[in-house]
Amino acid sequence: MSAPVVTELLDEGTVAEIAEQAWAALVGEEEVLVPLPGEPPTDPVSSWVEVVGPWTGAVVLTCGRDTAEQLARALLGEHAPEVVDGEDVVDALGELANVVGGNVKALLPAPSVLGLPEVGAAPSPGSPADTCRVDLLWRGQPLTISVQGCALDLTEENGVSL
């Protein structure tokens, strides 16, 4: 039996709903994700978690570096320092991918294993048929979440392990 493709397992609306719940709980109750595409960021950064199981791939969050810093500041809340350091940005972006990824994994065939979050240049997506991507705006800035089949070795040296 061939491996399932992700578009047979979940749709864009479900991924957007998971992201909205994560944002409301972690970023802030008033924080809204608008389901509209924006101009791609010129300085993108991605965080992702790998899922290995009957469906193998990654849940990838991509945004601009300024957006990533604003997300880290929002997650830290009152504990956010005046200048958020790079380690906190990596940590916050990775944790958002982890929470979205964990909830996506629950909808995928079991048994599967979730990896630890990584941050860096996005892993290459698999085929369009094995990719479920949502384009969103947060505070007017573009942010994408892609549940994508594995095209290449996801453990290649393009990320920072958290």
Partner: protein, 120 residues
Amino acid sequence: MKILVADDSRVMRQIVIRTLRQAGYDDHDVVEAEDGRDAYDKVHAEKPDLVLSDWNMPNMSGLECLQALRSAGSGVPFGFVTSEGSAEMREKAADAGALFLIAKPFTEETFRDALDGVLS
């Protein structure tokens, strides 16, 4: 009372601690651990009344930490706060002796529902 919060993400530890406070548990001491191994050591050193632990962590996972604690004879109340809340994970958690599993993303109500019987 003392609560040990174990998560490899410093940002998530801050969010858990903030949510504890928002849920009304603001008069407890909080100790932080950055992975399962650190949590295991701090259970022995700090003698917390409750452990709130992430599942997926480097060095030693939350589940391995709980299993190691029970093997060593520790009965410290232990709950998971994790991004994976499937029935399979909840069953594994319960089998290992966890009192509850709070799935991320969580709210202060989720915390109150899980913790009221433990910390009251």
